[in-house]
Amino acid sequence: MRAPRAAHVADAVLPAPDAVIQAPRTYGFRYLLRRYARNRLSLVGMWIVLLIVVTAAAAPWLAPYNPTKPDFFNTLQRPTPAHLLGTDDLGRDVLSRVIYGTRISLLAGVISVGIAVLVGLPLGLVSGFYRGRLDDVLMRITDAMLSFPFLVLALALVAVLGAGLDRAMIAIGIVFMPAFIRLARGQVLSEREQNYVEAARALGAGDGRLLRKHILPNILSPVLVQSSLSTATAITAEATLSFLGLGTQPPTPSWGSMLNFAQPYLGTAPWMAIYPGIAIFATVLALNVLGDGLREALDPRFR
């Protein structure tokens, strides 16, 4: 186990044992991996997520056909050895489209959560650290934002920003922001009272250094857990917006829009609806399992 950095500092000057005992919980990567791997289900989740990431990266090599090129001689074909998951109304290979759809879904999940973390985390840090007027106003705004049903607010934002994958990602990112602001703020509120923060301050660390070097590393684990669970929700949200015709636009293959266009063919070509749905379901399930596993590995209450 790697010793926490701030405790080093505190130790050097004040050899008080409680500074070490109450020091923040930073653990080595290996230790975490071992804790994480204790749960078999979490391990399976992690492997599936890795598999999906590899699929997204290797899509051009894995996909047997061009995902956007219509083939009007082969429309609505049922699954055959040539087209393992069948073809759609324009004769495009469903398997190839599902494989390429992985890219859109992962991109949407990572970018929208990235936006929420990049904006929400600093805001929450500053808000919890300085308190005061800024904190009051920010908390009322997050209260208000959290009063909107998640999907309703995302839809309204897309209505304003316009349809498209990039805008959908921004909208989802904005909707996620208050959760990260709240999370970071809550963590800072408890961390700033810890001995190691006081010790660092006594050593002359300024606010910026204190936040970046000491507090931030110690609040990262709940942020990591929240991020992985949010990625699952973001992927569902992007698929939902695309399903409603407000996210990814045709002909780009996205699981949500594939399901949208599959609806009229439920009776004649159900494979158009079955497989993209399984892809979303499996991805979101794996990410949720991964997030739960991370929480168990990182949260001291589970030890």
Partner: protein
């Protein structure tokens, strides 16, 4: 007591203020000319001018907000740009439909989640527990639009057990109304059931480990009585606390469910007005959704203060 209720009521004012600000800025911050976006490129100059004046686009933004807010407080949410319908009246027609769907979905969710959650906690680490936990994880992860489409495919297209979609008012034909509500309620109830089950399971585990349960058990109470009569009451508290969250989930889910099953409620209205760029209607729907959630949260908190003396005492301390 009165002081607590009053203070809680007072706390909703800033939240509602920021809610109104967000809803207002949604339209105010549209890049470009909202009038042109709403009416399209072919709109005549006269029509654009009329709409701009109607929306007050020729005035400063603060004045526009105050005017809008003044009307909203009086229950005037404006008119649809598409057909001139009153937004408030349209909402009033759609709300009962969504309310019915929300209630039936809530019933479906609770009917599954409460027994499953209690059983999983009671028989912790058993096959039942693992099965319930796994199913709830799946329930949280399954995209509701896909679940809806698959239900239509299996129950309506393949087996022809149920009509695929549509809506009939309950007072016109109650039987058909309920039949049409089965699939939407399952779709909307699934994610909620999973959430409630997880929550109830963990709170039940905590309650079952508490002293009063041990005392009751030592007294010789049967396990069933213990769980159903003693533990359940306290274990349900966290479930009741997140009523606001549950309503939010239901309203968000209704957008999808009502669209797939052609149920003419608030959710479908939201999608239709977004697709047709009917911004006053979008504003009305979004405002309604947020205010409904704020109201439910307020009611839950107030009910707590009335039922649980500890909350009142905390205030005094």
């Amino acid at each position: 007591m009165t002081r607590y209720l009053f203070r809680r009521l007072l706390l909703t004012i800033p939240v509602l203020f920021f809610v109104s600000l967000i809803v207002f800025s949604l339209i105010a911050l549209i890049p470009g000319d909202p009038a042109r976006i709403m009416l399209g490129e072919e709109a005549s100059r006269e029509a654009l001018d009329v709409l701009r004046r109607q929306m007050g686009l020729d005035r400063p933004i603060l004045v526009r907000y105050l005017l809008w807010m003044g009307r909203v407080v009086q229950g005037d949410l404006g008119r649809s740009v598409r057909d001139g319908r009153s937004v408030a009246l349209t909402l009033a027609q759609k709300i009962p439909v969504t309310a019915e769907l929300a209630v039936t979905s809530l019933l479906v969710a609770w009917a599954i989640a409460i027994p499953a959650g209690a059983l999983a906690a009671w028989k912790r680490r058993s096959v039942v527990d693992y099965a319930a936990t796994t199913v709830s994880l799946a329930g949280i992860s399954i995209p509701n639009f896909w679940l809806g489409i698959m239900l239509i495919y299996l129950l309506a297209v393949n087996w022809r057990w149920l009509p695929p979609s549509g809506y009939v008012e309950p007072w016109v034909d109650l039987g058909r109304n309920l039949k049409l509500m089965i699939m939407p309620s399952i779709v909307l109830g699934t994610a909620l059931a999973a959430l409630v089950m997880r929550l109830l399971r963990s709170s039940m585990i905590e309650v079952l480990g508490s002293d009063y349960i041990r005392t009751a058990r030592a007294k010789g109470l049967a396990d069933t009585t213990l769980v159903v009569r003693h533990a359940m009451k306290n274990a349900m508290i966290p479930v009741a606390t997140i009523m606001g969250l549950q309503l939010g989930g239901l309203l968000g889910g209704a957008v999808i469910t009502e669209t797939i099953f052609a149920v003419p409620g608030v959710g479908r209205l939201a999608v239709e007005s977004i697709l047709t760029r009917d911004y006053p209607m979008v504003q009305g729907v979004v405002l309604f959704a947020a205010v409904a959630v704020v109201a439910v949260n307020l009611i839950v908190d107030m009910a707590y203060a009335l039922l649980d003396p500890r909350i009142r005492l905390e205030e005094r301390a």
